[in-house]
């Protein structure tokens, strides 16, 4: 039997396989150089950038470890669009696979300005971060509102020819309505979920552990909740869904795919295992062979409900 076909299509962008590294966790990519073969993966989503550099939230602490997960409140610290294009992007592109830029802003116009500049770069797609829970303006404030989400997507749509992936927050009553609004506004794909809003308190000091008081929970702790939201969103929209939330191994990734994800992104697990993407990819390949499947696409949304 020939090797299984791992290729997937995300809004016109063909990925060599469905394994992506998630925005934020993978930094700008250069930090992980030498620790795994990142060029083997389907796509690398780089840390969210904004028009101007941002310092992010106060330190001490920005991260707290929790059972099977972590809560972070980095607050979109980033080098800004120009430094990203000049200093960061070339290194990430040198891995030799699709590089996806993630953008954010306080207004739809700021998103559009980033997208317009990136349209002249070799990014394979643009991810719209309307789901960061750790900034006062923008971020999740867009993503919890269907019309505000659509407005950002429309602004970016008018600014770029690249595929647009809208990254959604799970901190809403009905993620399907947000996904549908993004699709109607011109998104080529939706990605979910970003982190779940969360808080950790140090009982000795009676203060929150995070300097920003609250943050976003990621890691295996959120996986089943994220799988459900991917399942729901994939049935609500016809564009591809990128699934994420606590993926640690191939079985986790396959859960998202069976639930309806076309591709899967990995974040928190990178901190434990910088080669997690390669390990997940190898496991997916083994699974396809073991189940005598010709390709990964047969599995997308193939969960058999009871």
């Amino acid at each position: 039997m020939s090797a299984p076909d791992l290729r997937v299509n995300i809004g016109g962008l063909t990925l060599r396989n469905p394994v992506m590294l998630a925005s934020g966790a993978f930094g700008y990519g250069d930090e992980f150089a030498g620790l795994a073969d990142y060029g083997e993966l389907g796509a690398l989503v780089l840390k969210t950038i904004t028009l101007e550099p941002r310092a992010g939230n106060p330190p001490a602490s920005r991260t707290a470890e929790t059972p099977a997960g972590m809560v972070n409140s980095i607050g979109l610290e980033n080098v800004g669009l120009e430094a990203f294009v000049r200093e960061k992007l070339p290194m990430a592109l040198s891995y030799g696979t699709a590089v996806i830029a993630s953008i954010a802003g306080d207004t739809p116009e700021e998103f559009a300005a980033c997208a317009r500049r990136l349209d002249r770069c070799e990014v394979a797609a643009v991810e719209i971060n309307i789901s960061c829970p750790n900034v006062q303006q923008g971020g999740m404030a867009f993503g919890v509102d269907a019309e505000a989400s659509a407005e950002v997507v429309r602004a970016v749509r008018s600014a770029t020819r690249r595929p647009i992936i809208a990254k959604l927050t799970p901190n809403v009553t009905d993620i399907c309505s947000i996904a549908k609004a993004c699709e109607a506004a011109g998104a080529d794909a939706v990605a979910l979920t970003n982190t779940f809003s969360a808080m950790v308190i140090n009982v000795e000091t009676r203060q929150p552990v995070l300097a920003a008081n609250t943050g976003g929970l990621s890691g295996p702790a959120i996986r089943p909740a994220a799988v459900l939201r991917v399942f729901q969103a994939a049935r609500a929209v016809s564009v591809p869904v990128v699934g994420m939330g606590g993926v640690w191994n191939a079985s986790d990734a396959l859960e998202f795919i069976l639930a309806g994800a076309t591709a899967v992104a990995i974040g928190t697990a990178l901190y434990a295992d910088p080669a997690v993407g390669n390990r997940v990819l190898a496991g997916i390949r083994d699974y396809l062979v073991r189940h005598r499947l010709a390709g990964i696409r047969e599995l997308i949304g193939a969960v058999e409900l009871r």
Binding site: A25, L35, A60, W248
Partner: protein, 303 residues
């Protein structure tokens, strides 16, 4: 210290555990075989350690889901690397249960360690509490280069450090016993004297002194051309030392902060640093953990 790190050599290894030993005071020693890391490591750099059995890395643990950073304590013949940890949280407990013959999943050597300048003649190492763990590697490196290593070590009590305290009978307690420096009655750490350091140890519990007070009383004789302070320990101690030495001795400080990636990607472990006219955030894991004491914006750092 911050600077270009092109060509940095960082390795991830499944390193065989050669020794796993419980030490007094709830401390633990782990020695792993890691030649490439041992050959590349510099004092002040750290390992990012996966606490659990590497064979189970495909299964997410419910506790200690992140790696733990540990300063490199010793490098043995460039072959083996040692860390000393205080067993407190869940990660330390898991690590202390690991046995010789198993493997340890480590990434390293990470970060910028202590800068040993050409003109350095006397290194005054000021170390407090668990900050003493990486000191043997620093002392050994300095002594091998012919640099005098004066170690002023302190802790709340003897149990808080990973080395045995030697107090000759008839120890004088209180400031007098210490100020005699080098005289009988001075508490010391024989393990570090054996490496060539001139050691003075004080505990708040016995001598009733802070290590920064010892530094203060010796500042005059230690200051001078070719002398530099290298400080590692609690933040309050580092802050006092930078203030004490302001204008008379250059200081390098090794900082700790909560980390996730250990590689500079996640931006968890940032500290405020003065860069030209600006305040910027630098990562402890990659730009540090060793910084110049004068570049840190101490007023913005929580204790």
């Amino acid at each position: 210290m911050a600077g270009p790190d092109r060509g940095r050599a960082v390795y991830r290894l499944q390193a065989p555990i050669l020794e796993s030993a419980r030490l007094p005071g709830g401390h633990h020693r782990l020695v792993v075989r890691a030649p490439v890391i041992g050959a590349a490591a510099r004092p002040g750099q750290f390992l990012h350690v996966w606490c659990h059995d590497p064979a189970t890395i495909a299964y997410p643990p419910s506790a200690a889901v992140l790696r733990r950073p540990y300063g490199i304590s010793r490098v043995w013949s460039q072959e083996a690397v040692e860390i000393l940890l205080r067993v407190r949280g869940v990660g330390g407990r898991v690590l202390a249960g690991r046995r010789a013959g198993e493997c340890l999943d480590i990434i390293g050597p990470l970060g910028h360690g202590f800068h040993i300048s050409e003109g350095l003649r006397v290194a005054v190492i000021v170390a407090g509490g668990s900050g003493l763990a990486p000191v043997p590697f620093l002392v050994e490196t300095l002594v091998a280069r012919g640099i005098r290593a004066v170690l002023l070590a302190g802790a709340a009590d003897d149990e808080k450090i990973p080395f045995a305290v030697d107090r000759p009978s008839g120890t004088l307690t209180g400031p007098l016993g210490v100020q005699k420096g080098g005289q009988p009655g001075r508490a010391t750490l024989l393990a570090l004297e054996a490496l060539g350091a001139e050691v003075t140890f004080v505990s708040e519990a016995v001598e009733g002194l802070l290590v920064s007070e010892v530094l203060e009383s010796h500042l005059g004789e230690l200051s001078g051309d070719g002398a530099e302070v290298m400080a590692i320990g609690p933040r309050a101690m580092l802050k006092r030392i930078v203030a004490l030495t302001d204008g008379c001795l250059p200081v390098q400080v090794s900082l700790e902060e909560r980390m996730a990636c250990g590689l500079g990607a996640c931006r968890s472990c940032v500290v405020p640093v003065r860069h030209q006219e600006d305040l910027v955030y630098r990562t402890v894991c990659r730009d540090g953990p060793v910084f110049r004491g004068s570049e840190i914006a101490w007023e913005l750092l929580e204790p």
